[in-house]
Amino acid sequence: MIFDEAFSHQVFETGKIEDGLVLRQFFKGTNQKLTQPWLVALVTGLIKRFPVFYLIRLGWASVFRPRTKGWGKARAAIEEYVGEVEAANRKALNLGPKGAE
């Protein structure tokens, strides 16, 4: 669920995702090191093969995050809807307002 939330937050925020940022947010949210053995192997393999254009592309996307132009209204509409659904769910479960516990 933490991964889903990190991913969805980024979609709601910008309209698109950037794979690297989603991973970083997930590891941060779960208190895991970014240097996961499989991730290290993946990155090492990429550097060994050195696909220049591909690496530039990934690097570029991590600095200039992809986003949908004119996404502001959609973001506001989605956030409002998510807030309403979450409030209704919490009420149904007798959890009280978010952050109150």
């Binding site: 669920m1 933490i2 991964f3 889903d4 939330e5 991913f7 969805s8 979609v11 309209g15 698109k16 995702i17 950037e18 794979d19 690297g20 991973l23 997930f26 590891f27 895991q32 996961q36 499989w38 591909y54 592309r57 990934l58 996307a61 992809p66 949908t68 132009k69 004119g70 996404w71 209204k73 959609a74 506001a76 509409a77 989605i78 409002e80 809807y81 998510v82 659904v85």
Partner: protein, 229 residues
């Protein structure tokens, strides 16, 4: 065998999706290169957004429907009746949104609400058809067309074709499949096999061709799953 005489898909709207803009960029480039070589036009959707993938669906499936519907509304606004999504996940989500908007009133209500507040046209089911890259090549070029254009035959190459679950399931969101000869099958898909065979490859029987790769489940566990595609 299809002859590829169908001109309907000679020019289609193109929805690459987030993966093809990032880690799957090679697929994006090769799809465009294939289109150019085969004389098929791909017109990228303007200001497209994420289809919602599996993750947004887990937060709220109606938001995923809206996100995919927004892309379909862009295709409609651009004057297209067909949008091609080469990513299995995006293809699946656009098809699912189409199905939900046609059959589920609450999904329609949320889509209308979000579209109206976001200030764009509300997409209504039935206006735009979503196809996969395999449909695109199969319909517009066909096996005969591929065979004629082969420059470097794949003869001698044995291929186990992997379609994955999102290309085939749930079958109700793919009403055009399982229609008999000429159509794609959800239980034994063959479009990729057909095209590769036309290019000279030898397809081998692969019993896991429609199994799930558990792609989005590998990250939460941070453990690479064996056989991940």
């Amino acid at each position: 065998m299809t002859t590829g005489e169908n001109t309907k898909h000679k020019q289609v709207a193109y929805y690459p999706g987030c993966a093809l803009e990032g880690t799957g960029h090679a697929y994006n480039r090769s799809t465009k290169a294939i289109g150019k070589e085969l004389g098929l036009d791909l017109v990228e959707l303007k200001n497209w957004n994420c289809c919602g993938a599996m993750e947004v669906k887990n937060i709220d499936p109606k938001i995923q429907t809206y996100l995919s519907a927004r892309n379909l509304s862009i295709a409609e606004k651009m004057g297209f009746e067909t949008v091609m999504a080469p990513c299995n996940g995006c293809y699946h989500n656009l098809k699912k949104a189409e199905y939900d908007l046609a059959h589920d009133e609450p999904s329609r209500e949320v889509n209308t609400r979000l579209s109206t507040k976001a200030g764009h046209e509300t997409y209504e089911a039935g206006k735009v058809e979503t196809i996969h890259a395999l449909d695109w090549i199969k319909d517009s070029i066909g096996e005969e067309g591929i065979a004629k254009r082969v420059k470097n035959s794949l003869k001698g190459l044995k291929v186990a074709n992997y379609y994955g679950c999102m290309y085939t399931r749930p079958r109700h969101i793919f009403p055009e499949k399982d229609k008999g000869p000429g159509s794609e099958s959800t239980s034994k898909p063959h479009f990729m096999d057909d095209l590769l065979a036309a290019a000279g490859a030898e397809n081998v029987d692969y019993p896991l061709k429609t199994h799930a790769a558990a792609a989005h489940m590998r990250c939460p566990t941070a453990i690479p799953l064996p056989g991940w595609c």
